[in-house]
Symmetry: C2
Subunit: 350 residues, 2 copies
């Protein structure tokens, strides 16, 4: 076992200085931060008259990312986007970021720097400040631990538990793009780039996978205007995430498969690869779109105002009673249980 | 690369239920927690009229811990103690814990449960609530990411930057015990338990390594009574941590090696193992004692009141001007630069 001394990663001085500069630059400029990186703990003055949101994630090489298909910049971007998305799904605004990374012996200071650059790029439009940054050694791969703090006005947090029978179910953006982007990356890695696809579609799907956009503005609007009764972000896949809402709210749901929002790029990819675009949309995680419910009586007003804001929200189904379970309606009108392609918290075995 | 579905660790149902129970039990019972584990983010009402302290750490198997010499309970305990110690060094009280762990394929639900039990045991006397808990898969070893949130009254945070020339330097408890405990564990692992030591000393040193005590009460008192001008916890080793205070405060320091507080167990161990106890005290990290400075004019009153509280604080030196650097005074009166045995943030090379 290493002595405490050896446990710290030691990038070369030049990169180390750059990383410190980066940490300082992104840690300053906010009167509520009394102490950022550089003491035993960060010190902040929490927002008065606000609730605080806290979320944490640990991403591991070989499971959540692969350095053969993504750069350190991409990995940093996605790690932070996933946490931003959790704050978006609560209707909040992100504020403070704490980062803890473990770096393998093969890792360089330049890579750490790129990782931070990716993280800060994901934060760019949200004024998130970096208040904690710890770097240690890893005896295996890269590990990225992110903690994100946000805030929401009292009483306005969007929970998973508020969906009621009769509510409409909506999802922002399009589904399945991230999974298609991942498939394209893996094809390229295996040297078997067989799927023929117009370059603009390829670029779109790759961007959706590597640099996803957290729906902060959308979540904030849904919460501020009290549209949504429940919300979650699509990180595990539509079927898994819908199940979380149903379990927490004690309801069932019916999804209209023909209504799932699919991008032109995904449709083109699916055709070329001989895959079912609806299956991709159902199974694909990490789209970081918002899945939320709105009372049916608000439908006309909600859809009109969403359109006015250019907020793309597709109505994909409705909440039903718990006893009806979670079902999918096929274009031919048949109802079946929605296949659980991603949710496996209760699957037994190691 | 795994699909999002496969990225979740899946302990057997029975253990999974136990882990959820544990998370629920330790996440409840506090009116300021509006939502703990079970939504996209935790929701809390931050303390009014308090500053908030935030610290994060990522501990990795093979670097920070070794499952051949420590149980999952021990690893959980130490991971949380290290973060509690950061809050102690700021003079704060710990409040909320977020945990993100990555579990190798060989890891069992029982081990995850033990890890959580160790974490909650470290928190026991501090009323810390668990508000975030994420478990994912690891393609290599165990990784434990801890984020701890605490609070301190406005203006009372103990920073590293407040030490002034002439201040006395103190340290709580004793130094080097954790390193000696680690050495005993490694001897046992290698099947070469050669160091003969009374059982009570052996147990003491092992406990100091495996189940360290964060000095929360001590830090709180130092802050509440405004005794300390600067403080840090001894995690990297005395020489490295003193250097942090000196750099942040823009001062130098002189340490009296004969004054370093050594436990009877450490002295006995050092004798038996043929090692220098002072070198162990200087190099040993992870003692999680507090290193702090007090103006010399307050010395009589501080030492009297500390003794009255049974707070063991040894005066080990004094702050000097920056140009004098950081020096050690040997028992024979010779002054030498204090060897930097652990601090290596600026060491170049990968």
């Amino acid at each position: 076992m290493a002595s405490p001394a050896q446990r710290k990663a030691s990038p070369p001085i030049r990169e180390f200085d750059l990383i410190r500069q980066l940490q300082r630059r992104h840690g300053a400029g906010n009167a509520s931060i009394l102490r950022g990186i550089g003491d035993d703990a960060a010190v902040i003055v929490p927002s008065r008259r606000a609730w605080q949101l806290l979320t944490t994630d640990l991403l591991t090489e070989g499971i959540h990312f692969d350095l053969r298909t993504a750069t350190c910049f991409d990995i940093g971007f996605r790690a932070v986007a996933a946490n931003l998305s959790d704050i978006a799904a609560m209707g909040g605004r992100p504020q403070y970021l704490l980062v803890a990374i473990a770096v393998p012996r093969s890792g360089s200071g330049r890579e750490i720097l790129q990782l931070y650059r990716g993280m800060m790029a994901a934060c760019r439009s949200h004024k998130v400040r970096l208040i904690g940054g710890d770097t240690s050694a890893s005896s295996s791969g890269w590990f990225v631990g992110i903690t994100l703090i946000g805030s929401v006005p009292p009483g306005r947090a969007l929970l998973r538990s508020g969906a009621r029978v009769g509510d409409d179910i909506y999802v922002t953006g399009t589904l399945g793009d991230s999974l298609a982007g991942l498939a394209l990356l893996e094809e390229a890695r295996n040297g078997a780039a067989t799927t023929s696809l117009p370059e603009r579609h390829r670029r779109y799907l790759l961007r959706r996978h590597l640099h996803p956009t957290a729906r902060i503005e959308e979540g904030h609007w849904l919460s501020a205007r009290r549209w949504a009764t429940a919300a979650i972000d699509v990180s595990d896949g539509l079927s898994g995430d819908l199940r979380h809402i149903c379990e927490e709210s004690g309801v069932g749901a019916e999804i209209d498969l023909a209504a799932l929002p699919l991008s032109p790029a995904l449709r083109t990819y699916a055709k070329s690869a001989g895959r079912d675009p609806v299956a991709l949309a159902l199974a694909g995680g990490e789209d970081y779109e918002l899945l939320f419910t709105v009372p049916a009586r608000d439908r006309p007003r909600f859809e009109r105002m969403a359109a006015g804001r250019r907020l793309h929200a597709a109505r994909i189904g409705a909440i039903g009673p718990a006893r009806a379970g979670i079902r999918a309606v096929s274009p031919d009108g048949r109802r079946r249980p929605l296949p659980v392609t991603s949710y496996e918290h209760f699957r037994s075995g190691g």
